[in-house]
């Protein structure tokens, strides 16, 4: 393996295995993520997508194998990993404005009063600008739309100047226009800064044009490859152990016939 930092894998998982009780989520997982690579993680609910995210964040121990980030084992609270969660409803009683959400990305982990220095404020302004959120930066978060909130969360995740963006269903419950806007923000960051992206999603379509490789988890197994190698009826049928159809229609990919036993609705897989 080359030692030059530009060629070294940003994230590498070797022999990774995780099980809950008798249920194996995945095992013998081998993954090497290159700088600036966009990896989509697909799979049914309960296939271990979120557990993979938690493992990379150092919040979940593997049963076997190892995960290295930038050459060292992952640990909790690594500032070089930016985390973007799915959109969620912010309760009315939340005394935070748009810019405060981004500010928390800069200094929220530090003890003390919520007062920002001039330097922090300037950094927050730049982050807001970079995700196009300046115009609603001073509005209460609770009054913002899901798409506006997600832009802010992208800004928040970029605060530590990450080399890896870990996105867990960031487009969930957004309308198409906002899905496009938010995924493009993430992709722009990747292209301009060489930030690698791990993008967990139940629907690959909004990011299909950006994805380099797909990691598909199902039934305790996985397959990994470029989209054309993975999103095929024979490959996914083999993975699920039952006939599954991958339908391509007008540039969209739909997976039909995913077994119900995976706690998962029909056709919802990638659609």
């Amino acid at each position: 393996m080359s030692d030059s930092s530009s060629e070294r894998a940003v994230l590498s998982i070797r022999g990774g295995a995780l099980a809950f009780g008798s249920k194996t989520l995945w095992r013998d997982l081998e993954l090497s993520l290159a700088r600036g690579e966009f990896l989509a993680v697909l799979g049914a609910n309960g296939s271990g997508k979120t557990s993979l995210v938690r493992s990379i964040l150092g919040q979940q121990r593997l049963d076997a194998g190892s995960i290295d980030f930038e050459g060292t084992p992952v640990h909790r609270g690594d500032r070089r990993i930016g985390y973007i969660p799915q959109q969620k409803i912010v309760p009315d009683g939340t005394p935070l404005r748009g810019r405060d959400l981004v500010t928390l990305g800069v200094n929220g982990h530090r003890f003390g009063l919520p007062l920002a220095s001039a330097k922090t404020r300037a950094q927050v302004d730049a982050l807001l600008e970079s995700v196009g959120a300046s115009s609603y930066a001073n509005q209460p978060i609770g009054t913002l739309s899901g798409g506006e909130q997600q832009r802010l969360r992208v800004g928040q995740s970029l605060a530590g100047d990450p080399t890896l963006l870990l996105c867990d269903e960031p487009l969930m419950s957004l309308d198409l226009a906002h899905q496009r806007a938010v995924s493009e923000l993430i992709d722009t960051r990747r292209r301009e800064h060489g930030t690698s992206v791990v993008f967990v999603t139940h629907d690959v379509n909004p990011v299909l044009g950006m994805v380099d490789r797909i990691l598909y988890l199902a039934g305790g197994q996985f397959t990994i490859g470029i989209p054309d190698e993975v999103l095929r009826s024979d490959v996914l049928s083999g993975l699920y152990g039952t006939p599954v159809d991958v339908i391509r229609s007008r540039g969209r990919v739909i997976v039909a016939g995913v077994p119900q036993g995976d706690h998962h609705h029909h056709d919802e897989e990638i659609e």
Binding site: G77, Y83, D92, G108, G112, L115, P140
Partner: protein
Amino acid sequence: MTLFDFSNYGELLALVQNSIVAAAILGIVGGLIGVFVMQRDMAFAVHGISELSFAGAAGALLIGANVVAGSIVGSLIAAGIIGLLGARARDRNSIIGVLMPFGLGLGILFLALYPGRSGNKFGLLTGQIISVDIPQLGLLIGISILVLVVLMIVWRPLMFDSLDAEVAAARGVPSRTLSFVFMLLLGLTVAVSVQIIGALLVLALLVTPAASALRVSSSPVLVPLLSMLFGFVAAVGGILLAIGGSLPISPYITTISFAIYLVCRIVGATRGSARRRVELVS
């Protein structure tokens, strides 16, 4: 019966000086912690903790122990149970729903068995600050200051955790420890409040000021400041009015607190509709 009689006001004021200090600090602490109570959706938990705190205080009264200490023990047990078993909101509410009547019933049992004066009995439910002696007042003030200092230290990460525990954890915020510390602080604050305003009315100092502030602002700096101011005004104002009158302190505090809330609601609504009008025009 006259409601107000301010003829010996100066002398009375000197007598209750320490009570005023205790109420002032509690008003400030309650206002601040209330912001987090609102954000973490724990108003019901506050009420649940206060009932067990009441049981603890009543138990202490019965066995002749320190009432404040009993109140703290009850509070911390409740806060511990809610913190341990009620990580998720739905579990939490059912646990509180179970704990609350049990605590209240236990407290009433202790009071029924207590042979002493009845004034003390109801004091725990409806407030008794004037009858708290000086050493105990010192204890209340000390606890309040401790809570205030710790809150100021954990403020920012606690705010992060309250907003989005997942992202905060990903950023390295020690989520579990913070939740535990918060429950501890909340338990202590409730125990102090029970002594001053009474178990049944704790929410007037721990929730109403923050709820009022949230009506008029959403700035992370202004909301806590306003909330602390509102809590301070209600607590101190309540005592100042009460010593000139013949009624207990609590109704004054709750009424001032409620009046502030009403004003804030009106101000918030007026501003909201003005903003909407501007948006329609632009």
